[in-house]
Symmetry: C2
């Protein structure tokens, strides 16, 4: 039976803000990087899927960080797949420091798309073929919450440029997170309190589109909605500091 | 006598564009990260300097990439300081693949600033105190070129936000590079040809400022100039594909 796989990271100088602690975006980036590396190592990475004209796309993510680690801190990201549904597979993560103290965790849900039609395909075959990659350990926290509606109190506009896009030619997740968090006061972003981020993808945003980023701020957190070229919402997210 | 220090990297999934090759910004980021890690390990990192209310700031950088490595490629960044002047120290880099083939190189020049006055301090004492950290190997390519004037043919505006700033509270180098390159056609950015980037910092851009990014495109390359809040140029750069 498969076990939780562990990957070593360190908070690099390029990943900290002026409080010298890792940014939320850089920790989220380590989590998503781990997903790619683990799938690659186990034979169902994007590289293998692409040969079949398929790709993984992130559908939802919940990321909880209790305390942002300081520059040069070594940490470990553990990851495991807890289940494959027909449409979504669930990949989990824990972030632990050198003293084995868990300071963060994440739950992600992934769909597989056909690169020609850009629509989701039935995942059942992956579940059957890679059944031995499933680890019967439940997710470390609540699954990502669906954010149903956002009533923005402020808006920003931004064109999608080369540095925003990923290997799938759509806006990369960390850039979405940065665009949203950049609308909040720096005092909130650098607060040393446990934080939970839920992000939920509804459609892709592509190179050259103009994004509208709406933010509904409230005490200790905010809701966000991003849409491209006046289309319906592409991304919704919520962040809460405790 | 000191030797060239080697640091291991791998092209991570978050660092590639849709050609599945590492972006220039991510390779530049690995280079600057190596500078921080090496200085830290040798006892003259930003962490030690900050205690004395000093910090390193990058003054100029030249980065040459002959071929952008593919996703999951292991590579090594070698780094050494070749000299300390009164105002600038020169730190050099080579990027080599697993077969020891050099596919890139960089030369950087750093000043030390007093964090209260934000002005440069005399480096001679660092040269004396850390003389044993100097490696008598010349820079691997021409030192960074000074770009004297730019006549923009196009301009973009952008506010400095939280995700743009670094531990020094000013815009981080990779974000400047992204801002500039994002003005060029994607076809040029994803061209597989040797490229050289020269970047030259004249003043800092800070959180909340509005940046104006000017671009003077010509066959096979471009010049750039960034200024904050209508001040004189803060950054000038040039990029050339061969």
């Amino acid at each position: 039976m498969a076990e939780i796989s562990q990957y070593a990271y360190r908070v690099e100088p390029q990943e900290v803000d002026f409080t010298l602690r890792a940014t939320l975006a850089s920790l989220g980036s380590a989590v998503l990087n781990t997903a790619g590396v683990d799938a690659h190592g186990k034979g169902f990475g994007v590289d293998v899927l692409n040969a079949d004209n398929h790709s993984w796309v992130l559908s939802r993510m919940a990321l909880e960080i209790d305390a942002r680690p300081r520059q040069y801190t070594d940490y470990t990201v553990g990851t495991w797949i807890s289940d494959y549904g027909r449409v979504l597979s669930t990949r989990n993560f824990t972030l632990t420091d050198a003293a084995r103290h868990e300071f963060g965790r994440a739950v992600t849900q992934w769909a597989m798309i056909d690169l020609s039609t850009r629509s989701a395909v039935d995942l059942s075959w992956v579940g059957r073929e890679h059944e031995d990659a499933v680890v019967p350990v439940p997710p470390p926290t609540d699954k990502p919450r669906k954010i149903r509606s956002v009533t923005p109190t402020q808006r920003a506009e931004r064109r999608v440029v080369y540095s925003d896009i990923d290997f799938n030619r759509h806006v990369n997740t960390m850039r979405y997170i940065e665009m949203m968090l950049d609308m909040l006061p720096v005092e909130l972003l650098t607060r040393e309190a446990p934080v939970r981020l839920d992000i939920h993808f509804l459609r892709e945003c592509r190179f050259g589109q103009t994004l509208s980023i709406g933010c509904e701020e409230h005490a200790g957190g905010a809701l966000f909605e991003i849409s491209g070229d006046g289309e319906t919402a592409a991304v919704r997210a919520g962040i809460e500091w405790r």
